[in-house]
Symmetry: C2
Subunit: 321 residues, 2 copies
């Protein structure tokens, strides 16, 4: 029997997992909706259910599961196996690693979700061969993972990479992290809605009528389709959004000196709509001698990156690979 790892990507809405072989093959895959099961206890039960289902799926394929890796949102301490805090969940110093281990009888390794995605892209995706890069995911929020010298950078206590929450507008509105003016408020799906909402009322009404949506139901895909059809307001929304992506990446260049950026998350699917504007704004905000060296590329693994990366992290910690 081949030794396999289970990799899990725990999001704010869904919890997706897979059984991953030593070569990165996805042998089985499942997803569960989180729904109202949001307490620490309920999350442990949910993950147990997912792991047991995946184990029985893969048992049929003759795979032997030796370890579990979980990518979770928020302030995750990889070393301590604890999630300190997460804006989307009511957790405080949640010892997920220990609690889950007790339930499933396998070693459980945890890390920040974006760190797992970075590992997945580094091993199997767009960042193969990159020793130094930032993985940045643009979706409901912004996630970030920094790889330096081929290793994840973990700051003082494994908590680095909360890049969605640095301030790009000192006069900006409150953020659910407790701060205000955070990058995540502008360069995310909510950011797109904010940009749309800030256009003048008549234009906004016309755009929403055309889209056949309310503001809160407006998806990036819908705005992308309108832009494809030549709608000038939709195009302006993407230009403004790209500028917000670019200004944040410029700051990451200036602070960390990293020159390679892998762009993932849900919005990567429509990246052709904003990457040009992002590049223009990025170039305006960094030194001209550096600008030509900065590379932005699209993530290669889509939704699978988090699962593959969590499994790779766990397998590595387990002594393998």
């Amino acid at each position: 029997m081949d030794a396999c790892a289970i990799g899990i990507d725990l999001g704010g809405t869904n919890c997706r997992g897979g059984v991953v072989g030593a070569d990165g093959t996805l042998l089985a895959q499942r997803a569960l909706a989180v729904g109202n099961r949001r307490s620490e206890e309920a999350i442990v039960a949910l993950l147990t259910e997912l792991i047991e289902a995946l184990s029985s799926d893969s048992g049929a394929n003759g795979a032997s599961i030796t370890v579990v890796g979980v990518g979770a949102p928020g302030l995750v301490s990889h070393e301590e196996g604890v999630i300190y805090q997460c804006p989307h969940y009511p957790w405080r110093s949640f010892p997920l690693s220990r609690l889950l281990q007790e339930r499933v009888g396998l070693p459980v390794v945890i890390d920040n979700d974006a760190n797992c995605i970075a590992l997945g892209e580094a091993r199997y995706g767009a960042a193969r061969g990159d020793r130094n890069f930032w993985m940045v995911t643009f979706g409901t929020g912004i996630g970030g993972g920094l790889v330096h010298g081929g290793e994840l950078w973990r700051g003082d206590r494994g908590l680095a990479g909360e890049v969605g929450h640095f301030v790009i507008d000192k006069n900006g509105p409150p953020c659910e992290c407790g701060g205000a003016g955070c990058w995540e408020l502008y360069a995310s799906i909510r950011g797109i809605r904010r940009i749309v909402a800030e256009t003048d009322t008549a234009t906004l009404a016309a755009l929403l009528a055309k889209a056949g949506e309310t503001l809160n139901a407006l998806t990036p895909e819908r705005v992308a389709r309108l832009a494809d059809e030549g709608d000038p307001v939709a195009r302006k929304v993407w230009a403004d959004f790209g500028a917000m992506v670019g200004v944040g990446i410029a700051s990451l260049v200036n602070i960390t000196g990293i020159e390679t950026f892998v762009i993932g998350g849900g919005l990567a699917a429509v990246w052709n709509h904003f990457i040009g504007a992002a590049r223009t704004t990025l170039t305006e905000h960094i030194y001209s001698t550096i600008a030509p060296r900065v590379v932005m590329k699209r993530a290669g693994l889509g939704d699978a990156a988090g699962i593959l990366g969590a499994a790779a992290m766990a397998a590595r910690k387990d002594g393998g690979r």
Copy 2:
């Protein structure tokens, strides 16, 4: 004869150097004004003059100089010995290390000025024992050096730590780096003048009359004295300035996960006026579980940090210590 290193701190206005013994003792010290000698050629001549003067000073003390370290402003590649670009000087890909070495006949090692200050504070100052910390200097501009695991973080090509130029106001005014809305525009001596200038005209006139200064001549020390005397406008200026310090440090916490900050530069001398407000704003912009762990402390070496750090860097590269 003891083996010594020359350490030089090249600023925008002055160039200060010292002969440093293996134990960090400053055996001799000199400063030269840069004045109009700003071209690449003129800077090499100026540094040669300083090094020769320091060598003859120390020769009398029986010291033998084996290596030179220079901390310089701007985008300095330590590995290549090249300064790519600097907002205050007309340099482009300036091979300072090689050119100076040819003139003085000693190995010359260069690095970013703030990196040298970080090394100085790590070895002899406020950061002794800190494996991970950000050195941030607040003066005419902002400088930054990041130490991780006891080593300087150098990004992709030794260019990391340009922390003055991350964006904290996406709608902010242009900066001389080519960007706009940079942290340096707000949390620096120029930032203090900006805050003062933005108070209403009558209040501004009253403040300047009290200070006996024009806006451009207004120094932080003068504003500090007025605050000490109880002037409410001067106190408000410091509160606003502290908020700008805090919002930037919060972003560095969120991006890099580093929890220790050593505050240096000219403004560190008046830090009691702004550090309280900085702490308040910092706390508002980071996760509550992290806030109690973040330490801000004042640099311990003052102006000598850059010289001591540059010498330590050079001596280390030279194989010693």
